[in-house]
């Protein structure tokens, strides 16, 4: 299956799913002639139209990443998600230092250099947000 066809299937599924889900948006009494369903249906009509268009005129195929690049991408996503979850536990500076070291490693630095730079950058970010802008960032067990 070509790239465009796969996109067409995905968009068609998204459009159809959204359209069906919008069937469930019921109102107890009529507030206006259109109601809450019409707009989601417009969105799903656009997606279905796009799916049909792509299926009929597939363009060039994208170059999807090689296995090692795919692993690197997955690692970046995992690191970012992990940061979201450990942030309240470890506090901002520790969690962000680890994130930056992990990402730095994926972009070609060593652990030691990455940890050092990570500590510096997360310290600057903490000062900027917490002191400079007065926003609360979790301090963690060291707070």
């Amino acid at each position: 299956m070509s790239d465009a066809r796969r996109w067409a299937v995905a968009l068609g599924a998204l459009g159809a799913g959204a359209g069906l889900a919008a069937l469930g948006f019921r109102v107890a009494f009529v507030t206006d002639p259109l109601g809450p369903r019409a707009f989601p249906w417009l969105a799903s009509a656009l997606l279905l139209g796009a799916a049909v268009g792509l299926a009929r005129h597939p363009g060039d195929d994208a170059v999807w990443p090689a296995p090692d690049a795919r692993r690197r991408l997955a690692a970046v996503v995992v690191a970012l998600l992990a940061w979201s979850f450990v942030l309240p536990l470890l506090g901002f500076v520790a969690a962000t230092t680890l994130l930056l070291a992990a990402l730095g490693r994926l972009f070609g630095s060593g652990w030691v250099r990455g940890l050092g730079a990570g500590l510096a950058v997360s310290g600057v970010l903490y000062l900027l947000f917490a002191w400079g802008l007065g926003l609360s960032l979790p301090a963690g067990p060291w707070g």
Partner: protein, 508 residues
């Protein structure tokens, strides 16, 4: 016109208040440093810096002034990395890369950078006159807009942006549809029915446009960079001094003036924006003044034309945003989202009810122009050093900044997950050649479109004829139809310039 001058004078009084003056300078400098990061165009720079700007509790006009400074600065920063590294952060910078990077390879990066600053200044300055003259007229006219006219106008903006943003209409449609879908997540404001919330409390509020913008643009950029080879990029080349000779200036004088006028005119049209403006200006100048065939191999006028046009278009794009409340580009859509978050609704009443805001902004844009010229010419060497930072600090730093911004503003782990998911979606869309700007436009305009559509149909009792019942509305529907017919023309134009554009497709 004396009245407009008087009002502009009032605007300068607002803009020259110490706080606002400092903000426009800070915005210009910070915008330049962020906009310069490889691959990060103005839209990313604004999205990255917005949460910071929101965090400082500023009055709306100061906030708008700060954002204008960032907008301006990031465009110039984008030109720096385009000229030095040949990595245009936006489609509109692709044209600048042709001659700009050729000049860098010839060891003349300094004059190229100086020309880019001067041309941006000329484009910005001339188009501010256009803004001051045209905006009050347009907004007086827009007072006659009712819900039906707004529906037609927004459809026009969607069609214009979608048909010009990418090469493939189905892909632009898909991006718009996806954006509308994101816009309808949450409680329907009119019937209080939850839509696409899947029982998640956090989704009832809808998807924050800041989260969507940072995810689709900044996080997807990080993923795109992660996918490329991890080895660091080439550092800045030898570049000479950032000076221009008098001869070089006079030679490009008319090029800058012509390109500014052209760029402004194009910028006012929704959807067209900087990309079309800079392509048009470059190809026009090539035809008019390239008598020795030096365009494409390092001609300063080849830098002057797109830079002047691009900046003029950026100011032109503020007109539909401020007078009609309808943005014509991804970047102005982000600005609209920010304004709405500040409880400022741009539209025909803005100039009358909030003159300090409109005229203060116009004056600040001018000051921002001057600031960029006087700050950036001497400081460009300093800025360039940021580019020499290794990639393993830069890219993770951008990621950490986006995630910290979102968390600091929303304090919600759920939004961080949405941010990541949208980052992956944005990356996949880029890979598949889908434009990203229509998603943001649809997300910001979607709720306005729905409200106006439902209001006009409620007023007419469900009669769809109301949508085309006035001459203005009919005119806008015709314009929307015409915008659908434009892409073949634009494609032809692109083909005539693109083969010279050198490496790689731009990120949106």
């Amino acid at each position: 016109m004396p009245e407009a001058l008087q009002l502009l004078g009032g605007g300068f009084a607002v803009a020259l208040q110490p706080l606002n003056l400092a903000l426009v300078l800070v915005g210009a400098v910070v915008g330049t440093s962020v906009g310069m990061l490889p691959g990060i165009g103005p839209i990313n720079a604004i999205a990255l810096l917005l949460p910071l700007a929101f965090a400082v509790d500023l009055p709306p006009e100061s906030m708008l002034i700060l954002m204008a400074g960032i907008y301006y600065g990031s465009q110039y920063g984008n030109s720096i990395s385009t000229i030095l590294l040949n990595v245009p952060g936006t489609a509109s910078a692709v044209v600048t890369a042709i001659d700009g990077h050729a000049l860098t390879r010839a060891g003349r990066a300094g004059p190229a950078l100086a020309m880019s600053a001067v041309a941006s200044f000329v484009g910005g300055t001339l188009s501010i006159f256009g803004l001051v003259l045209l905006a009050p007229v347009l907004s007086a006219w827009a007072l006659r807009f009712g819900p039906a006219e707004y529906v037609a106008l927004m459809v026009f903006a969607f069609v214009a942006l979608s048909s010009l943003a990418g090469r493939s209409i189905p892909k632009a449609l898909a991006a718009t549809g996806f954006g509308l879908l994101l816009a309808s997540v949450g409680l329907d404001p009119q019937s209080a029915v939850p839509r696409f919330a899947f029982g998640q409390l956090e989704l009832l509020d809808g998807i924050d446009f800041l989260v969507a913008t940072l995810g689709l643009f900044a996080v997807s950029e990080v993923l795109t960079l992660a996918e490329e080879s991890p080895v660091g990029q080439s550092a800045a080349a030898a570049w000479g001094r950032a000076r221009l000779t008098a001869a070089e200036l006079t030679e490009s004088g008319w090029t800058m003036v012509r390109s500014s006028v052209l760029g402004f005119a194009v910028g006012v049209l929704p959807g067209a924006g900087g990309t079309v403006a800079s392509f048009l200006a470059y190809s026009t100048e090539q035809r008019i003044s390239d008598d020795q065939g030096t365009f494409g191999s390092g001609d300063l006028r080849g830098v002057a034309a797109p830079e002047a046009a691009n900046n003029a278009a950026a100011n032109g794009a503020m007109i539909p945003l401020l007078t009609l409340g309808v943005p014509g580009s991804g970047t102005t859509a982000v600005l609209l989202g920010a304004l709405l978050a500040l409880n400022v609704t741009p539209g025909p009443l803005l100039i009358e009810q909030r003159p300090e805001l409109f005229w203060g902004l116009a004056a600040s844009m001018y000051i921002g122009n001057v600031a960029l010229l006087v700050l950036n010419l001497p400081l460009v060497g300093l800025f360039v050093r940021v580019l020499a930072l290794p990639r393993w600090i830069l890219v993770p730093g951008v990621a950490a900044l986006s995630y910290t911004s979102v968390y600091a503003v929303t304090n919600s782990g759920f939004d961080l997950v949405i941010l990541t998911v949208l980052g992956v979606v944005g990356w996949a869309m880029r890979k598949g050649g889908f434009p990203l700007a229509p998603v943001i436009l649809a997300l910001v305009l979607g709720p306005l479109l729905e409200r106006n559509l439902r209001r006009s149909l409620a007023l007419s009792g469900g009669d769809w004829g109301v949508l085309a019942s006035s001459p203005i509305a009919v005119g806008l529907w015709v314009a929307a139809a015409a915008a659908l017919a434009l892409p073949p023309l634009a494609a032809r134009l692109r083909r005539s310039v693109a083969p010279r554009a050198g490496s790689g497709p731009p990120s949106p």
